[in-house]
């Protein structure tokens, strides 16, 4: 035990004391944060200050359309397309919408906005919305429905509330949040497995190539050396993640200070980039009353459960895979490229798990998701997708416990097998080793 600790301490300190560790640990989240901040900033902040001329030849608007934020509408009369084009060229305004006198409110004609420069996507949405609002009202009026009547129809409580048998409400917002949480945590585990798994593999390869392995195993059992390395690097990973989480949460608190009106704008605008379910969830929130709803949904998600499970599956998955990575590292000879082909059988189930995970976030109780969340090689990733939906909506308690039990058995199993490969491989020089040979070492009884 003491020797495992000594090895682990060296592995930990030799990595943490490196300059690159500080650099990646602190700079990486900062970079990601700046990157996202820029994206949000540029997509929300529109500083176009457009002046749009509306040539309402059909006289639908009654000479009035509300300007919105930085878009100023200006109703003009008695203009032709030609004169409007000239005016556009002379930069009297930035664009125009020509409503021909033949325009049929109830018809399928579409309006066209001509401008002398490209218009940003958010601005387009704003213009669309302004026209939609105004035209919708006109259409209703032509059907003899007043705005007030429409409001009373729409505000009647006709939204279906989804709830599961245990009485907890399960509305779309929460489903959306669960989706995001499940996706992110599953993906994080995927990244962890790869980053720290390869770190273990490199460490083992380094020991073998520097020819230090035999020196060390003359004082330490190969198993102690392997476990020391795995725990040491695992501790590095844990520390790194804790620092990242602290930084990310810290920066998130700063975000509203940097962009004070961003949240307000996000609430005001229905942003709808195509296909993104996350954004649909955001839109749902808006429909249901904005940030309060979001906060409620966040409260409904059992974060203690998720974080607890995340740490369990992070450690379990890491222990399970890192010993396999160590086994591969021990089998690699001089040529690091050999590692590529040996790694394939290990990376396959991880990638397979990601595929199942993307399905499981949508359908946490499908057969594939249940299988994936129980099978130890895929469960660390897949279970995170199910657990985000909560107990028992996403996963039943006994399934969770079974999965945890299987994962523990799984990592005991892989560690046992890997240790046998490792202690043979680490002293083996000069021959390219295949999986077949590694398998022979693993099944042979000692």
């Amino acid at each position: 035990m003491n020797k495992i600790f000594l090895v682990a301490r060296r592995e930990f300190l030799s990595r943490v004391q490196k300059k690159t560790f500080l650099l990646t640990t602190i700079l990486l989240p900062l970079l990601i944060f700046v990157f996202y901040a820029m994206i949000i900033y540029f997509s929300v902040k529109t500083n176009d200050n457009l002046r749009i001329a509306v040539a309402d030849e059909a006289n639908i608007l009654n000479g009035k359309i509300n300007s919105k934020d930085d878009i100023a509408f200006e109703v003009v009369k008695n203009e032709t397309v030609t004169s409007l084009n000239t005016a556009l060229e002379q930069k009297k305004f930035d664009g125009y919408i020509y409503i021909p006198s033949t325009y049929n409110l109830m018809g399928k004609d579409s309006l066209q906005l001509k401008s002398n420069k490209a218009i940003g996507i958010i601005t387009r949405e704003k213009i669309q919305k302004s026209f939609d609002d105004v035209l919708e009202e006109k259409r209703l009026l032509s059907l003899n429905i007043s705005k007030a009547q429409l409001d009373s129809v729409q505000h009647s409580n006709n939204r279906i509330k989804f709830a599961t048998i245990n009485g907890k409400s399960d509305d779309n917002t929460k489903a959306g949040i669960s989706y995001i949480v499940g996706y992110i945590s599953g993906f994080l585990i995927y990244i962890i497995l790869f980053i720290y798994g390869t770190m273990v593999m490199r460490g083992v390869m380094e020991e073998k190539m520097n020819r230090i392995a035999e020196v060390i195993v003359s004082s330490v059992k190969p198993f102690q050396l392997m476990m020391g390395k795995i725990t040491g690097i695992g501790a590095v990973g844990l520390i790194q993640f804790i620092i990242w989480i602290v930084i990310v949460f810290g920066l998130q608190l700063l975000l509203p200070l940097i962009f004070p009106d961003m949240l307000h704008q996000m609430q005001g605008q229905p942003i709808q980039p195509a296909g993104m379910q996350a954004m649909q969830a955001a839109q749902q929130m808006k429909a249901n009353g904005g940030m309060n709803e979001l906060m409620n949904s966040l409260h409904q998600i059992n974060f203690t459960l998720i974080i607890g499970c995340f740490i369990f599956y992070f450690l379990g998955g890491y222990l399970l895979y890192s010993s396999l990575f160590a086994a591969v590292g021990s089998a690699v000879n001089e040529d690091p490229q050999d590692a590529q082909s040996l790694l394939l059988p290990i990376t396959m189930p991880i990638i397979f798990a990601i595929v199942i995970m993307t399905k499981a976030v949508n359908e946490p109780n499908s057969g594939l998701a249940v299988f994936g969340s129980l099978f130890p090689l895929t469960s660390p990733i897949v279970m995170m997708a199910r657990i985000a939906h909560g107990i028992p909506e996403g996963v039943t308690l006994w399934e969770l416990l079974l999965s945890m039990g299987l994962l523990i058995c799984g990592f005991l199993g892989t560690t046992w097998v890997a240790a046998k490969i490792y202690r043979t491989g680490i002293l083996m020089y000069g021959k390219k080793i295949t999986w077949k040979e590694m398998w022979k070492w693993a099944v042979r009884k000692s």
Binding site: S14, N210, I212, S218, T424
Partner: protein, 312 residues
């Protein structure tokens, strides 16, 4: 108990070969022991069993009078393997400390001993250097220090002088003598016969996993002597043919003769003295270990180190 190490019928079979096939020998305390053999003879496997890296398939290892216990006896052994290296990025002082602690020394003891050895081998200024900044010879020196640092009773050195210049090789050689005088036993594995002849008291020669020779260097040489003598005479003898010997070589007045069975060296001397020729020198030519080695190993089909199926 006068033996530090007793091996009794040690066996280790791999799937394709018998790496160590029923080997027994004893090593007495304080001696310098040479383990010889061609490549693939099973030396490294044998050493790995003695250091507890591999378990023997059968047989007993008795260390210092007790059955060898790999976990607790590690501190009694210092092993410098043939395939050796150090962490390149680690500082030398920390590296030595780490290896000493892995052996089971406390931090305080380890630091004390590192300082002693670094001072002794003039390495004090190296403490904060990294291994990658050292020359090969320097890192060999460091490797030696980390092997003997914890004052093991049994020191096992596999090809300890490879990569060392003559000055450093002599330095290490002196340290080996010193350690033996202070009561440590040194096992020395090499192909370099002239070093063995110079350093070792006792040798075992292995080939194809079997022990083929065991004894002190002097005994072995006696055992393999071919009754050759060199004679230097003051003048050319008139008659140089006699039934007691066979003339093998002649360079002016110096002869190499082989005494035939049933005759003694005195018969040769008598033959020349009777001719009234002054014998300036008369020496027995003992075979070098190198000759014995080649004689014993040549012809046997020694397997080059095949890929070893290992089960430790």
């Amino acid at each position: 108990m006068n033996n530090i190490l007793e091996l009794q019928h040690l066996k280790k079979y791999y799937a394709t070969q018998k790496a160590v096939d029923d080997i027994s020998f004893n090593i007495s305390k304080g001696s310098i022991f040479g383990l010889l053999g061609p490549n693939g003879a099973g030396k490294t496997t044998l050493l790995r069993m003695i250091t507890g890296i591999f378990y023997p398939d059968s047989g007993e290892i008795i260390l210092d009078g007790k059955k060898f216990d790999p976990i607790n006896d590690i501190i009694k052994i210092g092993y410098m393997p043939e395939e050796r290296g150090l962490y390149k990025k680690m500082k030398i002082g920390e590296q030595a400390l780490y290896l000493a602690q892995l052996k089971g020394l406390s931090k305080k003891d380890a630091l004390e001993k590192i300082k002693f050895w670094f001072k002794r081998l003039e390495m004090e200024s190296w403490w904060n250097k990294k291994v990658e900044d050292l020359s090969k010879g320097m890192s060999q020196k460091l490797q030696f220090v980390t092997t003997v640092l914890h004052e093991p009773k049994l020191i096992i050195l596999d090809e300890p002088f490879s990569g060392l210049d003559p000055v450093n090789a002599n330095l290490i050689k002196d340290e080996i003598y010193g350690l033996a005088q202070r009561g440590s036993t040194v096992i020395f594995s090499t192909h370099r016969m002239e070093q063995v002849e110079e350093i070792c008291d006792h040798i075992v020669l292995m080939n194809l996993g079997k022990k083929i020779l065991d004894g002190t260097v002097t005994d072995v040489k006696q055992q393999f002597k071919e009754n050759k003598f060199s004679i230097k005479l003051q003048q050319q003898p008139a008659n140089k043919i006699n039934e007691s010997f066979e003339l093998i070589d002649q360079k002016e007045n110096a002869f190499t003769v082989k005494i035939k069975d049933g005759y003694r060296s005195n018969d040769v001397l008598q033959f020349f003295i009777q001719q009234n020729i002054t014998v300036e020198s008369f020496n027995e030519i003992l075979p070098s270990l190198n000759d014995i080695f080649i004689q014993l190993v040549e012809g046997t089909k020694s397997v080059s180190r095949a890929f070893q199926q290992v089960s430790a």
